[in-house]
Symmetry: C2
Subunit: 594 residues, 2 copies
């Protein structure tokens, strides 16, 4: 039962579900439904898919997440970045508007669903950790800019193409002559209206005494209002005859159960993109879910979230939808509107299903420019230039990874951007760890403390050299340690003892062990004894499973002071006024470097 | 001048070169020359190249290393593993025995030389650190097995092919019927003889009173003796007419200056293999050079070694040779024979040049089986099964990377093997660091020390929770930290303060900073204050460049004891007999875990 409860969180919250909770969930569901309808249509357009596919992706996936998800506020469905990635991945195999294109998008959702589920069962959620914050932030910013620029053509009313910023902008530039003025007016008006709704409306409503909750709902209804008004205008003035592009006929009725394509060649080709979409979608979704859960001291279980999102994507695929994940803005709306359990998602699904059944004929006159306007306003909030500045100020190496991600995403492609970012983060991390901070230390006279000789007035003897390493030892830095020690010995012919002080060494891997053995061996060859001091318990346990300590030319000392007392008592007792201080307090913050 | 001296180490040692040093170098050069002649022929055979190419690769490269290298004992030339990698890389583009094959091998040396030089100029030697010891050890062992099995066909006197163990063995199996019995007798005799020379001869010679130095030389001369005897037998009995494969005519005379192919398509195709060969060759060479340098308290400069090896490979290419690097056995012989400066290498080059000019006609009757026997005996010393066992005992994750390297090298290919090993090492390292050791700690009553609550009798209050992290915080573990903290808070509704104790945190990257900000923000949302304690100086400096500390709901405490005194004075002073002990000594080794 506990095992089942782990995989079916609904069994936990479902048992205490009551009328009051249901009311909260229902209210939240109505608000999210109103918000989701234009969003679903718009993101389907962004993914290059027929508008109804966006609606399909907002029904069954929500039900699946209700059963398998652990977040009480997450709203699943099509989102901007994943839609862009879908367009980029599927666009390589098929032409937009063809059955192959739709089939590949559906297959992508299915493969992504299976991958997410597998990652959940095998608890591989940690893979998402490879995406560092600066890389994600840079990727989302670049995606936002790409998405916004890709929608410009709908605002201007021209045809344009391209999957990177340069292609998109040159394609728009060369087609500017075909601008459809009526479309442009609708597009600019809708964009301006939505921008005002987002930025100024709430404050004005609060100013005239509207209650915050209502002001919030009115603000979030901006897109649906824009949809209503522009659809009505397009219908009344028959704008289709003026070459204004409209959404056109949307098949009404619920999606039929759909068996995704099992073409193994297609699967293999889509697999890399599906993996990236899964991981990016998971990271985005989990960070939203965690933010919302923390506000109520609730917990989400990342590995179970993988299963929830996997089930949602499989549900999306078998109902003719495309890849989905937890969206930021709708989840916040859901949370603010009072959603108390994942049941709110199921209620939203019912709302979208009703809309799909009965309201789609009303949307055939909806101008694509209106949808493009909702997308542009939505994604501009993803663009976070401040994060770029902050990262630059904090860490140049993080900034390098971020800049590489942004540039490659904008000018080469979204998948390449993510991969570049991950590769840069790992490479830079390994580079940093490959040159750990090391300091030659001496004893602070009259104490048992040891400090960097370059920074403090300390005593050292000429026969004993103590080197403190401030990093775990592993393959990427073990040779650097060897180099440093050999260099020190080569420079100082009078040395008889080298002590490696290890208070910050949390682990020693097999490469580092071999390097220590080499150091021991080579120092012996040149007549120098090799000692360790202040080795941590778990590290020592592991060393004792080998013959390293038996072969060590020197000793392993409990404390560095013990080492000095034995190897060089004169230096150890250099001051007669021997008054040891407490170490814990003074060991930190005594300068830029300790 | 110093700049020039950095790039031309010969300017340093050359200024004090005297007659005595020259004598030592000359003696060493004679011994190494005798050893290098059969080795060069054999490794050329292994690389699928005409035998003279092995000799060419043993002349100019040695002169180049003499000028640019920093090791005083390293002997450069063809080596087994690099020869195998050359055969594998070039075999993909051309048939053995064709001009294209030879041209590609020469181009490979040239590209590898340029890469090594570039890595040296840009000080990229640290890239070699990505090859962990277990991966290199596994790769060398697997290569040794592959090489030995690939030579079996020469011992048996059949044709066989294949680049992985399975293909090689099945190919041999299906051709066993064509065994040439005379070849088999020569091959087995030579192998048995060389095995006896290597394992038993030296001891027997010492037993009958031969001086160690002479015994050593006689032992190292085993291969040249086998070459002489089998060549004589083949010539006298005209074994060529009995279908025994001989080396055949070797063009005598020095190599003509050669301009390597500049076909950009070929370069692009060879580049990945050239990179792997460069890195593997560099790692092998540097570890030999370091071992020998340490014995005399000398230094080698890894980044300058890259330039030395790069120059050697370019020299090899322009004299019609193939990729070279520093070899283990010949360098040890060189060192033991008394080589005092890199000039010994130049003298060896003269020796090989003389042999190439005058002795090659004598070698036309040399049976290939003899060369195969020298290769087999030489590479079996590379196979280190003990290292596999030791690695398994010390670290399962290192063993996993090693096993993957061995299996992929044996059954898929050498390049794939190296790449797999590197990928596994990095992935496993990131996985380990992604779940750092963390402990909830409490105060040891009556002291200012803090210990893991699960291991020690310590005091904790219910309102303050202290978590100690034993690892630097970075992108791969920052989300894990978030998860842990949210879980702790969700389990303990009574908590008001969380203190993160950071004595082992050597750095905090931008991802981890963002996670700390998130933690601070979310804990605030749920009414919990977030504090830090014992933050190291350099880490604190960096944090102070951001607004993190300003936004922190809690404080940054110098010591954990300060934190407890302020947040929970009752627990801090739980024992009346307050007698603080010194920390440095007792902080370590008080159990399997601190």
């Amino acid at each position: 039962m506990t095992y089942l409860m782990r995989f079916l969180p609904i069994l936990t919250w479902g048992r205490t579900y009551d009328r009051e909770t249901a009311t909260s969930d229902l209210i939240a569901a109505v608000i999210v439904t109103i918000m989701l309808i234009p969003q679903s249509l718009a993101y389907a357009l962004l993914a290059g898919l027929p508008p109804e596919v966006g609606l399909y992706a907002s029904i069954l996936p929500l039900v699946a997440y209700t059963i398998f998800g652990t977040s009480r506020a997450l709203a699943v469905g099509p989102v901007a970045v994943v839609s862009l990635m879908t367009a980029s991945a599927v666009g390589e195999f098929a032409q937009q508007g063809t059955a192959e294109y739709l089939g590949a998008a559906i297959a992508l959702a299915f493969i992504s669903g299976i991958m997410l589920m597998a990652m959940g069962f095998f608890r591989l959620g940690f893979l998402a950790n490879l995406l560092s914050h600066p890389v994600i932030s840079g990727f989302i910013t670049a995606s936002g800019l790409l998405i916004a620029s890709s929608q410009l053509k709908h605002i201007i009313g021209i045809s344009a193409s391209g999957h990177n910023l340069y292609d998109i902008l040159t394609s728009i530039g060369s087609n500017l002559g075909n601008t459809n003025l009526i479309t442009l007016v609708i597009g600019l008006t809708a964009t301006g209206f939505l921008f005002w709704v987002r930025k100024g409306l709430k404050k004005q409503l609060l100013g005239i005494g509207v209650k915050p909750f209502l002001a919030d709902i009115l603000t979030k209804s901006g897109p649906i209002a824009a949809v209503f008004v522009t659809t009505a205008v397009a219908a009344v003035f028959d704008l289709a005859s003026r070459d204004v592009r409209l959404v056109g006929d949307i098949p009404s009725g619920l999606p039929l159960p759909h068996i995704p394509s099992f073409d193994s060649a297609l699967w293999l080709q889509l697999a890399p993109a599906a993996l990236l979409i899964s991981v990016i979608g998971f990271v985005e979704s989990v960070s939203v879910a965690q933010t919302l859960a923390a506000k109520k001291r609730q917990r989400i279980v990342p590995d179970q979230e993988l299963i929830g999102l996997g089930a949602s994507n499989i549900a999306s695929a078998i109902s003719g939808g495309y890849p989905v994940t937890g969206g930021f803005s709708r989840s916040v709306v859901n949370f603010d509107a009072g959603a108390a359990t994942p049941a709110a998602g199921a209620f939203t699904a019912v709302g979208i299903a009703v809309a799909t059944l009965f309201f789609t004929p009303l949307l055939s006159h909806l101008p694509q420019a209106t949808l493009a306007a909702t997308i542009i306003i939505a994604v501009l909030s993803l663009v976070d230039l401040g994060a770029i500045k902050r990262t630059y100020a904090y860490s140049k190496s993080d900034f390098t990874a971020m800049a590489a991600t942004i540039i490659v995403t904008l000018f080469l492609g979204v998948e390449q951007g993510v991969v570049t970012g991950v590769a840069f983060s790992i490479a830079l991390y390994l580079y940093r760890s490959s040159r750990p901070h090391m300091a030659i230390v001496g004893v602070v006279p009259g104490t048992e403390h040891f400090r960097n000789v370059d920074r403090h007035k300390v005593a050292t003897g000429s026969r004993v050299l103590t080197l403190r390493v401030d990093e775990s030892l592993f393959f990427a830095n073990s040779r650097y340690l060897e180099d440093r020690i050999y260099a020190l010995v080569a420079e100082r012919p009078e040395i008889e003892h080298i002590v490696l002080m290890c208070p910050a060494v949390n682990s020693i891997d097999a490469s580092a062990l071999e390097s220590l053995e080499e150091i021991n061996h080579r120092l012996s060859d040149s007549g120098v004894d090799f000692h360790l001091s202040e080795v941590k318990g778990p590290v020592m346990d592991r060393l004792q499973r080998t013959d390293f300590v038996a072969h060590l030319s020197g000793k392993v000392f409990l404390s560095q002071y013990d080492a000095l007392c034995e190897l060089d008592p004169l230096t150890a007792h250099i001051s007669e006024s021997h008054t040891p201080k407490k170490a814990a307090r003074s060991d930190i913050w005594d300068g830029p470097e300790i």
